[in-house]
Assembly symmetry: C2
Homo-oligomer: 567 residues x 2
């Protein structure tokens, strides 16, 4: 995520990143975290994994304080959640706190597609930027290999006699690749005759949409990883019994493939704050947060850990709490809600082209979106919200002042932050505000729903409490699938809502904070390994395509081996 | 490759490997090769890449002596080419030479399929064995990503208007995955409607069969890599003009993906001889050797470098010379031909089940296979052959003595070697023999054919000179394709024969050294980026399947995170 910078000579993200002086990772780990060299598995000189054995040795250490960064409902104007996470962690470091940031790993698909890199932006980035955006430490490749081994084993099992009696029509397990490749969305495999198996419809998702990715990010140990992988339901038998990866004896080998990847990756921000970048599940059909391994390890190593959830606070923060925190025992102490003047004016009905014009009225109207998120954080999640106003050059002082006032009227703190341009120094006020909120002990995290509710009731709880909806309805096919999942014994799982991030409703065009709408569930998917049931409210694209002029057209290597064109 | 060990308590490869004491790679690089720490890019503590900038700084250094290890025509009895390469390098180290071994990286497909690991065997292995056999340093994943980015860009180009006028029916560029997955051999992509592109037939190969792999292994620098990637021909326009990766603007981004991977991987043998393990193209539709980057870097760092070619000396050594040496300028000084008593008896007509019984007559008959290889090495390739008799427990002294005598009658050296059981000590006689042959300066490498010959004449030269064939014929489709390739200006390229490895003929059942046979070319493929034209003589499987009980069934992780079941 990069903020729009209209000031002419501001350098690009990659220019800033490439100019950075990066501390050798072993030095950083030793000096900032007290990690000895043998606790690290180096990947080059500026990246390392923290050894799982060392992590196990930290089990009895006290944990630091967790700060969750989320946002208003995303708009095309951009909010800057990752930059704020990085800037806040840097600011905490600047004011003398032992802090870390824990973020998701970027996918290569968007890097070569439309979005470009994803490691913060401006002077609030993690480095080495090109490495993080490309193959990094190989985690995504390992996740793809584990996912695809299971796929191969499924078709191989059917080919060699299908002893388990798998009904090929019911297989929901897809292959994956870490690219945007629309041609692979809907395919037919096993053509070409007897030697190639039984033809069936299939498809590829992008790696970040794989259930293996979600499992990887929720696993608390290798043993837990293997257990969860074994629980994956790939489809059903002819008599409608779930078939698991364990039934196919795939989970051991899948765990072996993922063994090295499970150790979390340590890098640093431009200002040398240690950063964990590990795992990156989709935020719609999955929970959208970096790995539990990374967050927990960071909490063992630092006093304050800033982490990020996907999309806005209705989706990302809710899943962070109801899925990641529920399964792992993690508990944040404060929630930073990132907002921009531009985005709030957009929520207030202003067109994209007009966002540069001062408009306090529109801002005030758009505040209804932020207001609902703040009330959710406070009343539904039980946590103190702190608003980070990620300042853009076109924002006026009047607008900033008006927004701070509007937030204060909600009983919450708000701070202007300029980390994109100024690094950690630009987020110091925010950092102090977050610490104040934490020290005030203004709440205790609570789940949106109890484990004991039925899956439909859980969806209903989220829709009514968090989205402001009147209720939930189910398409008949979805209702049938839900009944099957409940009958198979999965009703105790949390739900994972796959809803547009652009609105509290399921209609992406309804900005602000609509109420009284109905959330219709079109499809229900079981992620038995990850441990949640996905409720799909719209069209969810799990394999993006490339644009007419992909970013890859301009990504190149110069004579000295330097990468150019990576945004 | 592991030799058959009938002696009961001999430990398994993984037991030996896991018990090994591995020198930290930075220490090894410093002590054995004089490489400073900043010349290495560590991947954990026992693996590293040698930095490309450091390699460039070695350009003016003299190069060591290159020793090629090849074999008789492979049999189901096993020959042990990789173990011999490792054992010979260890033996050279033992007798005071600064030596290295350069080998291919194993593919994960066979690891989970039928073959198990591929990092030598017994006491002649490279370590860390599990790492090398699994994700290693991520090279194969990067190669897959580069390959598949090109695939995505092809379909994306067609989807967005097909400005280049690509005829989708002519696309030969396939997607790849590093797994054995027969379901992906023949597929139809882009189903599901307008948003998903234009449906067409497609398929996946295993990564090692990708032309990107062949290119990667022949590239001499990042610039050369990019040039070769740009040259890839992915298909044709409606008016039959070749369409390249350069036309699709894919080569820059592909090079960026491969940038880190191109640096060769440094590990070690069980006896701490430095080993380069880098790249691993198929030996049928590609040239089957580790990367030029690895071999050349090893030659800059060591006085003696042992490297391995694929299959037998008719295929692997020929391609090593006519493709790898031709393009890179590398020149071996001696050729080790690995043979076993068992395999030669098999070539002499003995059934697999009877190979344990002494049979000097059969051995003498089977010698015709070794004899033809020896004469090829000496007379066609112009190099001194040295026979390594990789001893098995069931071989008798009479058989060994008879074979040494038979080889001497050919004017070549032969040595019994027991490196599988005894490590480098078991190959010292072989090492001395190789050094003698090198010091005698008994030849100078020559190509089998000149660049100026037509592609058909090149195939003819290989078939008649190396295979002992009467001549070459072409299926009409192959002849037509060949004419197109010549017309498009690719006649100056070397040819890459895809023939069964089991016989000098194209009939896998004809053991020994058949003569007068005809080599029929069924298919011709252009690998314009790799820089060769493949002549396919039979069915070439570029995507293996899994057996009924895949190795993955038994590969698992124990409570301590140790991998079990990897053979």
């Amino acid at each position: 995520m990069t903020a729009d910078t209209t000031a002419a000579p501001f350098p690009s993200d990659i220019e800033i990143a490439e100019a950075a002086e990066i501390t050798p990772i072993t030095t950083l780990a030793q000096e900032r975290l007290g990690l000895p060299a043998d606790a690290l598995i180096p990947y080059g000189h500026t990246k390392a994994k923290v050894d799982l054995a060392h992590i196990r040795s930290l089990a009895d250490q006290p944990e630091g304080t967790l700060i969750l960064v989320t946002a208003i409902s995303p708009t095309p104007a951009g909010e800057g959640k990752t930059t704020t996470s990085v800037g806040l962690a840097d600011a905490l470091s600047r004011i003398g706190k032992k802090s870390m940031v824990a973020l998701r790993e970027p996918s290569m698909g968007p890097v070569f597609g439309i979005k470009g890199g994803a490691a913060g932006g401006g002077y609030a980035q993690v480095v080495p930027m090109t490495d993080i955006n490309l193959n990094f430490t190989g985690d995504f490749a390992s996740i793809a290999a584990a996912n695809n081994l299971l796929s191969a084993l499924i078709d191989n099992h059917i080919h060699h006699g299908n002893a388990l009696g798998i009904d090929p029509r019911t297989i929901t397990w897809k292959r994956v690749v870490d690219l945007n490749d629309r041609a692979l969305r809907d395919i037919v495999v096993s053509l070409g005759g007897v030697a190639n198996g039984f033809p069936r419809e299939d498809g590829f998702d992008i790696v970040v949409a794989s259930e293996v990715m979600a499992i990887f990010c929720l696993a608390t140990s290798l043993a837990d990883l293997k257990e969860r992988l074994g629980n994956i339901v790939i489809g059903y038998t002819r008599d409608k019994k779930p078939v698991t990866a364990r039934d196919l004896k795939a989970h051991g080998a899948m765990t072996v493939i993922l063994r090295d990847a499970l150790a979390p990756n340590l890098v640093q921000t431009l200002e040398h704050t240690p950063a964990m970048i590990h795992g990156g599940p989709f935020a719609n059909i999955a929970h959208g947060c970096n790995s539990v391994m990374a967050t927990r390890t960071a909490l063992k190593l630092a006093d304050y850990v800033v982490t990020e959830a996907g999309f806005g606070a209705d989706l990302g923060a809710e899943k962070f709490i109801d899925i990641k925190c529920r399964t792992s025992g993690l508990r944040p102490s404060a929630v930073v809600v990132v907002a921009t003047i531009r985005a709030l004016k957009y929520h207030g009905g202003v067109a994209l082209a007009d966002l540069k014009t001062e408009d306090v009225d529109a801002l005030t109207r758009g505040m209804e979106n932020l207001r609902k998120h703040l009330r959710n954080v406070k009343d539904v999640y039980g946590l103190p919200p702190v608003v980070a106003i990620n300042r853009f050059p076109t924002d006026t002082d009047a607008e900033i002042a008006a927004l701070i006032e509007l937030v204060r009227a909600e009983g919450a703190r708000a701070y202007e932050a300029t980390h994109f341009s100024n690094g950690g120094a630009g987020a110091e006020a925010l950092a102090h505000g977050v610490l104040e909120a934490i020290e005030a002990g203004e709440g205790e995290m609570q789940f949106v729903y109890a484990d004991e509710l039925s899956l439909a009731e859980k969806a209903e709880a989220i829709a009514t409490k968090v989205y402001g909806a009147a209720g939930v309805t189910f398409d008949s096919k979805a209702a049938k699938r839900l009944a099957q999942i409940e009958a198979d014994g999965y009703s105790g799982l949390p739900v994972c809502m796959a809803k547009t991030q652009s609105s509290f409703s399921t209609d992406a065009t309804r900005r602000g904070a609509p109420t009284g709408h109905t959330v219709n569930i079109r499809e229900v998917r079981l992620a038995a390994g990850a441990g949640f049931v996905v409720m799909v409210t719209g069209d969810i694209m799990t394999m993006p395509g490339l644009p007419k002029v992909p970013a890859s057209d301009h990504i190149d290597i110069d004579e000295n081996g330097n990468i150019v064109g990576l945004s």
